[in-house]
Every structure is written in C-alpha cells, then in structure tokens.
C-alpha cells in the first residue's frame, strides 16, 4: 500500500461496523456473529477494524500523537483479517493492510512494537527464533527413525514453533512424508520466517529474516517447500513475493497430503471413530490468498467516480486453503466432521497472532476460549487445526477453561488413520523434547 | 366568572341554537351505564367547526371552565369517561360535525369529522368498494373517530399494523386552544397544498421527531379535541368465506388461532363464548339462550377473503394451507358445524348494530376489558369465571398483528333488578382489581379503573403523563378527572 493509497483509504471508513461481524449474510446465530477478537474483548469501537482506521486518520492528521495508549490499542489486534473479509464483501477498503501500514508508521515514530514483541524480535536477530532457544537445538525434534534425503527437491520448512514448541506437529509431518514415500530435506540453517516480526510492523528485521531464508533455500536445488505451520506458509506465500520473488512452489502439508491421498499415495486405512471440528487458521485461510498482480489504471469514469481498468482483483479470502484439510478429514474412515458456524474466510481467530500471544497473553487466551465455546457447541470431542501457533493457544485455552475438548493437529489424525499409534508419536515427541 | 357569562360567551361562538342548558338535555349527559357518579354539565354546546372549538377551548382557559368532548351523543355510553366530574363542565358535543371530508379509494383513506358514525360510513364505503376495520358489530350511532381515538379493538388483526390503527392523521385543538395537525397533515402547507403535492395524509407519524396523535389517542378527550382525522381503509373483498370452529377447550382454539394470525391467513378473526355469539346473532333472550345451549362453549370465527379477479384463487390457496395447519394440529374440520348461517355472521362482522347486541339478553351489561398476552388468556378467563355469578359473555380479539389480545367480559344483568344491580356494583371493581393484580393490562382505564390501574403501574408513567398533560392542557380544562391528571 503506497502513501497515496493509505491516505485515501484512511479517510473513507463508513463507520458502518460491518468489520465487527462475519459477513452479514453468513450470520447464523447471535452467539457466533462476531469476527473481531479485539472488539469482543475490549468493547470500545476504537478497537475495531474501522476504529483503527479512524485512529490511523487521527494520527495522520495530528489529532492524536504517539502514546502508550495508542500503541496498546493498535497492538491489541491479531491481524486476523476477519474485518477485511467482511468489509470487502461490498467495500473496497483494506482494513488489514491499513493496520499493517499504521503499525509500520508507529514503529518508525518509536511507538511500537510492544516491549514483549521487541524482546522476541531481538531473539530472532540473535538466535533465529522468537523463543530465544538455542539455534543449534532447532532440529532436536527430529526422531532418529525419520528418513530425510539431502538431495530431495522437497524441503520441509519446519518453522520455529513446530521446531521448539509443537514438536509433535513436526514429527507427524515427517512421519507422513516418510509413509507416503516423499523424500524431503530440511534446511541446515533454518531461521524464523519473519511472520511475528512483520505483523508488528518492524519491516527491516522482517526483511532480514526473509532474505536469510530465501538465500538459503535458493542455494539448494529445491522445487517445493512444504510447511506445517500456517504462519510460515502465509508469510512465504503471500508476504515474501511482495518484497522478493522466488522460483519454488510453496505448499502447506494439508495441500500436499490431500493430493497424496487423492492420488492413492497415502492410504488412510485405519478407522478413526472421532467427532471433530476444524479450526481454519487465519494464515492458512483468508490471509493465505496471494495478491494477484494488477497493472491497470484508475480511470475517472465521471467526476467523483473512478473505475479500475482492467477490473482490479479483490482479495477477499476466497483463495484460502479450505478444501484440502476438509478433504483429508473426510477421507478418514469413521471420522465425523461437525463444522463450526464461523469457518473458512470468516473463521474466528484463535487469538494468538500478530504478537498478541506474547504482548497480551490474557487477550489471546480469552479469544481462544471464545473459539472453544464454538467448537464445543458443535458436539465434537476433538478440535483439529493445521497451525502450531493456533495449536499452542487453543491448547492453552483448553487447559485454562478445563474444556473436555482434545486438540489434535490434522497431521496427527492422518497418523492415526495410517495406523500409527498416536500416543507413541506423542511420547516420542516428549522424549525428544 | 358566572355560569351565565360562560353560556353567553358560548352562545356568541356557536349561536343560540347550538348551546343548551335545558335540564332535559343536560340529563342525557349526566350519567351513563357505568358506575361513575352522575353529575350534570353546566351546558352542552354543539360547535360546527374547528374554529369555534378553538375559540371555546381558549375561552375555557380564560374563564376556567372545563370541556368534555363527546362525539357519539346518541349513546348508550358505557364507560363514564364523558360524565362531568367537576363543576363548570361544558359538554362539547361534536356529533353534528358529520362531514365525510374525503374518500380516496386509490390511497385507501378517508377523512372524517367526529360526528361521522359507523352507521353513516359503512354503507358509503361498501358502495365505493372499500372497507373499514371495525370493532365487533359496533353501534350504528357510534362515532368512528371516537372509536379509533379510544383504541377500540378491531376485528381484522392482520390489517392492524400498529395499536393506533386505523387512525392516521388528525387535526386537533390542544387544551391550550392551539390548532395542530399530526402526521403528514402537519405540513408544510395547507391540506389543499399538500393534496396538490400528492399527499393524502396517510402517514400518521410525526411531524418529525414526535407523534402527538399517540398521546391524543387513549386520552379520553383530555389532551385535545380532534376535529377531523384520516382513517385507514382496506379494499372490500369480493368473496368471503366464514368459518366457525367450536370446542369445549379454549386452548385448542387458541393454538389454531395463533397460526392463523402468525401467517396472516384470514381477515376477521375472533373467539367468542357461546353466550356472546348467541347475543350477536339473535334478538330475544329466548333465542339467545337456545342458541347458546346448542353451541359449544368456545367459538372461533374466521373469515377468508379474496379480492378482485383472482379472489377464488386466493380462497383456494388459503383453504388449502389452513387445512394443512389443521391437520398438523390434529384438529378435526368436522368441528366446523353449520349451526349458524354464514350470512348472519358476516352481517354482524361487517354491519353496524342498530341497537346494542350486548343489551339484548338482560337489558344491561357491565364490561371488563383489558389486554393480555396469548398464554394468559385462559388464566384470566378462569379468574373471571370464578369471580362471577352472572351470565357471562366472553370475547377475545387478537390485536396489533397478534401481539396482544383484547379480553372482554360482558356481565349481563337486569338493571331493573335492584338487588342484582347492587350486588354487581359491589363486586365489579373488586373483580377488576383482582384481574389487575394478576397482571391484566387495563390499558384503557375508564372511570374508577384509572386510579387502580395507575396505582399498579410504575410511578414514572404517571409522572410522564402529567408532564405531557401540562404541555398540551396546562390548565386542565379538557375532561378533568379522567385518567391520572387530578392530584
């Protein structure tokens, strides 16, 4: 978003509040009609997508200056993009992009990020991961019995969270790849994808991470990079190309495994008699839609009315990865999928993203609990998703809430359907941890 | 100021023929069938237009006399709201203001003066292919405007989009003597100018950010004197089919009744007990009693109506859909017994009554009526039945698109039987208060009900109403003593 577009957009919020709700025609109940975690938690209009556009304008006009109060409000947002999907059902504003740009401006003015976020950004700079874990232990998750192939054209980009915190996801992915006979390799020197940095508006540090990763990958003869982390996937898929083009394909494991199942290369033969509900991670869903290149002109059709020629693609989340995880779940015999009310492009956020988990952990937990309520109301016993960050936050909330739900990553369910003993896989994860 | 001076001033305004303090004239305005204590007014004046009313109201503010506006002078009047409660009351009898000022078929509206009665207007409307949503078999001499101002229940709930229907715009002289027009009639412009612009005074709301017609309505003449009003009309049906369903179980009929109103399937829709249906249809006490015995206790009457070229098609669809509902509810259509002739029912539903159907059984009746929600109707019926030792008529009327229900109990008695009358009088208010205590909403609190009803209502309502009264009638010249305006 360039300067001109930013200025044009921040003046155009209608203050209609559509950004607070799922798209209006998708409202299925009173309980699950909202889309914005920040509004649900903090209530003042200022916290909404529209409210933050107003703040951007007020800041731009000098009506308000940089302050801790401003910083807190702007950073109490998971950048889940739900507001943008709802707004863009009819409108052409970009609440999420405005938010990202606004944060960048605050950072430039010394009003961001949050101290906790600054801490993890420093950690990334120092040890390549936001958890401040030793870089050299990044691969400790890898069980000895997993086969990797240093010459493979498939790279499994594990990401910081699966490497250090959600090892079971990394392990499950690796085992499935092995089971399907897909040879894969790991990066020798994987570094944080930069997503948690980018979302806080610290652009230079993000670019540093991006370049490290792209340099490392492009030095290899790799044609596909596979991710089990939705955040890394989104960052590679959507954000990197805005700054640097690359020439390999990116796939989330749900896409790859769905293909393998359809092609008969992964045979899910074991019955998994569970009732599950699936949480669409924002980074795998609505935000995983690439920006289509548009090189058209804005033409004045008549005074005050402009038209894009050719038609400018509207990024509304339709191209998110929605079918593959559902196809996988439907391929598992005995498994029943009960959908939540808010799904796909209007899925409710888990609450962890954009630095919220570190800067405002209580907010993150409360948001996750709202999502758990919705999951519980489906009658499911299992909550399943495809993102380690969602996994962490949702599992933290399950503990906090004392929910009867169990959380599994979708790859763990695949393992069960492959006949592997998930407990053993988990034990193994604990062991390596 | 002496009484004579008041009268002479009134004569100056209305002309000698149109003011009277003749004792025999005053007597007719001194009492009615209610238990409100009789009291003679100072005089009666028959103004002929708004200008004169404006002058009289201004005079009342100047000379400190009170005004009781009356539109249906022919009576019998029932509720005590027009009986003087103070000295120096002048009855403003508007029954001679009888002009039908406008009848507009295209826009389904008429503009009438207060003296226009149901007897006057129903035949006129029928000839024009129009229809008014009327109360149940209203007295022919009853003022249409007064009936709407008093929010009398009407019989087609699906055409009652608001509790104020069918009243639309009004011209009113407030208690201050100021002339005002409500709704779109308020302007800008005169009625003629508005008409030129295409306005037909259809929109009752406003002007702008208040709707004074709502505070004039239900005020028993204590806020303003309405000199004309526009009234909402419907198209007259070409075909009507009457249904009469009987049961000993009120709830069974109520459940079916609910679906009829929920899906807006019928025009007239009401429930009567056997005695009231008999009173409506028959003339003599014996005929009434005979028919009542033949009927089951509860009677649901509904009318399906079709209009225009496709009237039959409409009836077919309605009959089919209703048959499905009956089947769903396990209702036996054979309960529809043809004891009663359809034409007779249509007559009482569509035509005015030359006398009063409530008088036929015993020559007298006292009515208790209030609003209830749907669920509590049977409970109120039980309370009433347990409290009553007289012949009891029951009438249940869904209102306002089925959101509330008018519950009316007609206690039939012989007014010439002193003991019966005395006993009823002693127990009447007790029964009413018992119902009020149970949550019956006496939203039209006449006579002695007012005190009881307001006592059972939040104090803020009274306080707000008093503020409103103070604005529109600061000197309390209009019908003092009614509602909650006298401290």
């Amino acid at each position: 978003m360039d300067e001109e577009e930013y200025e044009r957009m921040i003046q155009r919020c209608l203050r209609c509040s559509i950004c607070k709700w799922v798209p209006q025609i998708q409202v299925k109940s009173q309980k699950y009609a909202t889309i914005c975690p920040a509004m649900d938690e903090y209530n003042f209009h200022t916290y909404s997508g529209g409210g933050k556009i107003i703040l951007a304008l007020s800041y731009h006009l000098g009506r308000i200056g940089p302050s801790d109060e401003l910083r807190d409000i702007v950073y109490k947002c998971t950048e889940c993009g739900g507001c943008a999907v709802s707004c863009k059902f009819l409108n052409t504003l970009e609440p999420l992009e405005i938010m990202c740009e606004f944060r960048e401006r605050l950072v430039k003015d010394g009003c961001g990020p949050m101290p906790a976020q600054q801490k993890y950004i420093e950690a990334v700079k120092k040890v390549n991961n936001p958890y401040n874990e030793p870089h050299e232990s990044r691969k400790e998750w890898l069980p000895k019995d997993i086969q990797t192939d240093p010459n493979s054209k498939v790279l499994f980009y594990v990401g910081c969270t699966a490497s250090y915190r959600r090892k079971e996801m990394a392990i499950a992915t690796a085992r499935i790849l092995n089971a399907a006979g897909i040879k894969f390799r790991l990066l020798e020197d994987e570094t944080c994808c930069g997503s948690p940095i980018l979302r806080t508006g610290v652009k230079d540090a993000f670019l540093e991470s991006m370049n490290k990763n792209l340099d490392a990958i492009e030095a290899l003869d790799v044609d596909t990079v596979v991710f089990t982390c939705a955040g890394c996937y989104d960052t590679f898929k959507v954000d990197y190309p805005l700054h640097r083009k690359y020439n390999f394909e990116v796939k989330h494991t749900v896409e790859l495994f769905d293909e393998l199942i359809q092609d008969g290369k992964l045979k899910l033969t074991t019955e998994v008699p569970l009732t599950v509900t699936y949480h669409d991670p924002c980074h795998l869903g609505r935000n995983a839609e690439r920006y289509e290149e548009w090189d058209g002109d804005v033409v004045e059709l008549m005074p005050l009315v402009n038209i894009n020629i050719p038609k400018k693609p509207k990024r509304c989340g339709a191209e998110g990865v929605y079918d593959p995880p559902r196809n996988i779940l439907k391929s598992i015999s005995g498994l029943k999928l009960n959908e939540m009310e808010r799904i796909m492009e209007y899925s409710y956020c888990c609450g962890a993203g954009a630095g919220v988990k570190s800067a405002f952990p209580e907010f993150a937990l409360k948001t996750a609990q709202i999502r758990l309520d919705e999951a519980e109301d489906t009658g499911a016993e299992i909550l399943v998703s495809a993102c380690p960050f969602c996994s962490t936050n949702l599992q933290d909330a399950i503990k906090e809430k004392g929910s009867k739900l169990q959380f599994y990553d979708i790859n763990e369910l695949i393992l069960m359907a492959l006949g592997m003993d998930i407990k053993k896989v988990k034990e193994k994860a604990a062991e390596v941890a | 100021m002496s009484n004579n001076s008041i009268i002479s001033n009134l004569i100056n305004i209305c002309g000698e023929k149109n003011v009277s303090n003749d004792a025999s004239v005053l007597e007719a305005y001194s009492s009615d069938m209610s238990y409100v204590e009789a009291k003679a007014p100072l005089c009666v004046a028959w103004p002929s237009n708004a200008k004169k009313i404006e002058e009289i109201v201004k005079l009342a503010n100047k000379l400190y006399f009170s005004i009781i506006p009356i539109s249906s002078s022919a009576g019998p009047r029932l509720h005590g709201d027009t009986i003087p409660q103070k000295d120096n009351c002048v009855v403003l009898d508007l029954s001679r203001m009888k002009k039908l000022l406008k009848l507009d078929k295209k826009n389904r509206v008429m503009m009438i003066e207060p003296g226009v009665t149901f007897g006057d207007i129903i035949p006129t409307l029928e000839k024009k292919g129009l229809k008014l949503n009327i109360p149940l078999h209203p007295r022919a001499s009853k003022s249409v405007l007064a009936s709407t101002l008093e929010r009398e229940p009407v019989t087609i709930p699906r055409h009652m989009w608001d509790s104020s229907d069918p009243l639309l715009c009004t011209e009113v002289i407030f208690g201050t003597g100021d002339l005002f027009r409500t709704g779109t009639a308020g302007g800008p412009g005169t009625i003629k100018q508005q008409e030129k612009a295409g306005i037909a005074q259809l929109n009752p709301m406003g002007p702008t950010q208040f709707s004074p017609y709502r505070v004039i309505q239900g005020a028993q003449g204590s806020m303003g004197v309405v000199t004309w009003a526009t009234i909402k009309l419907e198209m007259k049906p070409t075909i009507q089919k009457v249904y009469h369903l009987q049961s000993d179980d009120l709830q069974e009929l109520l459940d079916f009744h609910h679906d009829l109103i929920k899906y807006r399937l019928c025009d007239e829709l009401l429930i009567l007990n056997n005695l009231n249906l008999a009173c409506l249809l028959k003339q003599t006490p014996q005929e009434i009693n005979n028919l009542a015995k033949e009927l089951k206790k509860w009677n649901l009457i509904y009318v399906l109506a079709g209009r225009g070229k496709l009237a039959n098609d409409k009836l077919e669809y309605l009959m089919g859909d209703i048959a499905d509902i009956m089947e769903e509810q396990g209702l036996d259509p054979s309960k529809e017994k043809e004891i009663i002739n359809d034409t007779n029912i249509l007559r009482v539903l569509r035509q005015p009554d030359t006398d009063s159907w409530r008088m036929r059984l015993k020559g007298g009746h006292q009515d208790i009526f209030f609003l209830s929600n749907f669920e509590r109707i049977p409970e109120f019926v039980s309370i009433m039945e347990s409290q009553n030792s007289y012949d009891l008529g029951v009438y249940i009327q869904a209102l306002n698109l089925g959101t509330s229900h008018h519950c009316e109990f007609n206690i039939y008695y012989n007014p010439n039987n002193a003991e019966e009358s005395k006993h009823l009088k002693e127990n009447f208010l007790k029964t009413c208060t018992k119902l009020m205590d149970a949550g019956a909403f006496f939203n039209r609190p006449y006579g002695p009900w007012a005190k009881e009803a307001y006592e059972r209502h939040s104090a803020s309502t009274q306080s707000a109403l008093k503020k409103v009264k103070k604005i529109f009638d600061p000197n309390n010249v209009l019908n003092p003593g009614v509602l909650c305006f006298d401290d």
């Binding site: 009819l90 038609k311 | 800008p188 709301m205 709707s211 505070v215 959101t403 909403f441 803020s460 503020k467």
Partner: protein, 529 residues
Amino acid sequence: MVLEEDTFKEFEKAVGVGNVNDGEVITDAYAYNWCMEMFNYMDGKEPLPYSSRPKAVILPSSTEEVQKVVKLCNKYGIQVKAQSTGLGPWNCVSSNNSIVVDLRRMNKIVKIDEKNLYCVVEPYVSGAQLQAEIMKYGLNCHMPGAGPQVSPLASATSMNGPGFTSPSTGHSSRNVLGVEWVLPDGEIMRLGSWGMKNNPDWFNGDGPGPSLRGIMRGWAGAKSGLGIFTRVAVKLFPYPCSTDFELSGHSPNYDFKIPDFMRLYVMDCKNFKRLDEIIIQVEKEEISFMCSYLSGLAVMAIFANSFEQMMELMAVGGMKAPLVVIIAARTKREFEYKQKVMDYILEKNKLANIIGKQYTPYPVFYAEALRSNLGLHGFIATGGFQSTLGQCDTAKMCLNSATLNVPAKQLFIKKGAVANDFGEGVWMTSYESGHYFHAESPTMFDQTNKHSVKGTAQYFERSNEIGLVKHLGAPFFVEGDRWHDMFGPHMHNYHLWLRKIKEAFDPNNIADGGFYITPGKDKKGALKK
C-alpha cells in the same frame, strides 16, 4: 485525563473498571462518523469527519448502570449522547461537554416470544443476529435500509426506519411494543404492559391511557436527545419462505440456493404516472415481500457487489421507471397464487419481467434480499453516500418529490460535487402493503473531496427547502434546532411543542439534543424550566 478525577471515579464505580475511558485515543474514534463532514459544513464548521471530541466514553452493561450514568451527568452537568451500533453523525456529540454512552455491552436478545410474535432486544443486538435467531422460529423482523449490521433497538426507538422489506414488515416506529427507557433526568420509564407492577410483560407499549410512544419518537426518532433506550420489544413477522438458508462458495461471490418459493420481478413502468398506478395495484394485492421503485442506476447497484460489476449492468440501468418486486411464499399454493396475481398485473399493464430473460441476477442477490443487505449497495460507487429528501406519504407525492428534486441535483452534478446519476437516484418503498410509501434520494459523493462535500451539503439543504416550498412534508433529516426552527413556523409551530417536551423531560438539558431539539432560553440565557 479529561474528566475530573472524582467524576471519573464515580462513573467508573457506576459501570466498572475498564468501562470508562477519557483518553484521547479512545474518545477521538467516537468523534468520527460517516457524513460528519457534511453536517459540519452545514453547521458552518470545517468539513472534517469529526465532531467535538466526547469528554469520555462509557460502557454500561444494564439499565441500572445507564441510570447511574445519567444521574451522574445530571449531577455534574455533563451532556450525554447514547449510541448503539453507532452509524451516522447523529451518534456524535454536539458539544464539547458531552460524554458518549456506548451501549455495546448491552447485547442480549432478552426474549423471543413466538406465541406473541415479538422479541425483546437490547441496544447492541444487530439486525442480522436477531434475524438469525428468529428464523429458527420461522419468523422475520423489520430491518432498516442501513443494513443488518445496525441495531433494531436504535431503529425502533431513535431513528427513522424504512427498509427494503417494509411492504411486509412495516416501519420501525410502528413495530414498537414495550419499551425500557432511561429518561434524561435518570428515571426509568417502562412503557405499556412492561410498566405494570404485577406480572409485567412486553406485549403492548401503549397506555394506560395515552401512549407515551408519541413522546418517545415521531416518524424520525429523537436520536438520543430525550434519554436512552435500554430494551425494546418489537413485532415479528412470518419469515416469507422456507428458512433454509444455503450459502456456498466464498465472499464476496457466494452462491445461494434460492428458496423454492421466491421470485423476483423487475419491470420497467416507463414513466412515473404508470409506476404510481402499478405499484399501488401490486400492493393492494398484499402479496409482496419487497416492493420498491429504484432508479435505473440503483437497480444496477443492488445487483452488483462492486462498481466494476455494476458497470456491466448498463442494459438494466436504462429502464426509466423500474419496479422491483419480490414475492415469496411458505407453501406451493401461496406461491402459485402470488405468481398468478403478478402474471395478471403484468398482462393487464402490458409489462415484461426482465428477470430470467434480459437479466438474471447472481443467486446471492436473493440471500441479500432476505437478509436485508441491499441498502449497503448504495456505497459501492463512490464510497460516499447519503440520502437526501426522505418523505413519506403517497407514492404520488414520493414520485413528485423525486421529479422536483432532479433539477436541484443536476445543478450539483454539473458543478462536479455530486456523482452523476442523472439527478434521478431514488429509492421508494411501500409500507404495510402500500398503505403509505417512503422515498429518499441516494446521493453519491466523495467524502474526501472538500468541493464534493460542500456541494453535497448545499444540495442536501436545497432538497430540504424543496420539501418545504413544495409542501412535500418535512424530510427525514429535519432534526436539530436549525431545521426545526425553519420548518416549525410552516407546520403549526410544532417545534415549540417539541421544545416544550424537551424542557419538561430534560430539565437540566442533559440529553445531547444536537440531532433533536434544545431547550429554549429565557432572556438571561438560562434554560427555561
């Protein structure tokens, strides 16, 4: 800190910690609103989209908390402006001595009364939320043209209230039953049967005796100038067809399974005279779920989800007097009957339905029609949009008004202040099966362009003047002292009565009357008692 520390603490005590904020960041967002720039310009101020900044924003969670807040405002002489979902400049304060009460935390559907066909809602229940819940009972609610995201309570108590489904769901003001209302002096008022001490219930809002609904609001609402509404009962209507609501695909190009018994008609009546006759013919048959006249450009807009898509519909936009009717039915019989009626009307008037022949809308149009989302399409051309005029009585008057407005609008189109709709942009809907009609003139402008804002404001004023001079009724934005004082003398001095109401119910002038009326002053400048 803007509020005195003690005052802040008292407010905080009333509504709980975290629910009062007087910081500039929170409060500045409440100073901004849609079209504020235009109203500022009309008030002789700089055309910025901000009002004065409220002194604080307060989030009460109950009627009792609202009452405490209002009493504190009386104690400290601070004005209060309430808002529910908060769309529009009337949600902004009109002085620098006002706080905003944001009713956001009052978001309960208190009751869905299937048997008595009403529901009770708090201020922050949205129309879409309410509809989603009542659809489960086969019921529908009225929603204003502003869209399903706004508050049904605000529409019923405080705003105007025409909507696309008005032929079958009426007007917000006329759907009101019981009401809970915190008066400007802090007293709690419960209207009608809800005010009873024994077994209060919401089914009726009138009486005992006169109905205070007439003080509460008129055709337009008091925009919080006469207190704060905390709960309202509103009528419900039968849902027009099957409540199965099957959307598939993704936003914004959802696919929708059009209910079996639902059909759209778009017919060009060619001129207003015929349109007037035909719309009344349709409405007298009591068959329509929706029945609107929309100018050609507006028809294009309701069928499009972007301006580019709208431009693909030029063929539709060429109609001179398009009548848009939707019929819907619960049963096959009902549907066949309604279609027969429409066929008859079409044949009698030699009209053609273009739907399915010249044009077939995307199925999502039907979903939006059922969920009252069509009004929001007014924004897709320029992003800036406001309705001028706003009159309500006969179809003929509405169409006269539209015609008289064309030259005024064209003048501002020529000046480049208003986007070119040939001056014809109008939406007219029937209410209550054609018993009356509402028209407004959607006007597109660019809110970021000062020339456009100023010109649109001037056009807005000109439109109101046309209403006055041509006796078309008071347009729906005749609100605030300036407009009331202009129209009142031509309308039996209604403004003096309205002002008396304000004075009687708000003796300390606490409810912000910027979009209502303010009390008169005596010669010394003190408020009249």
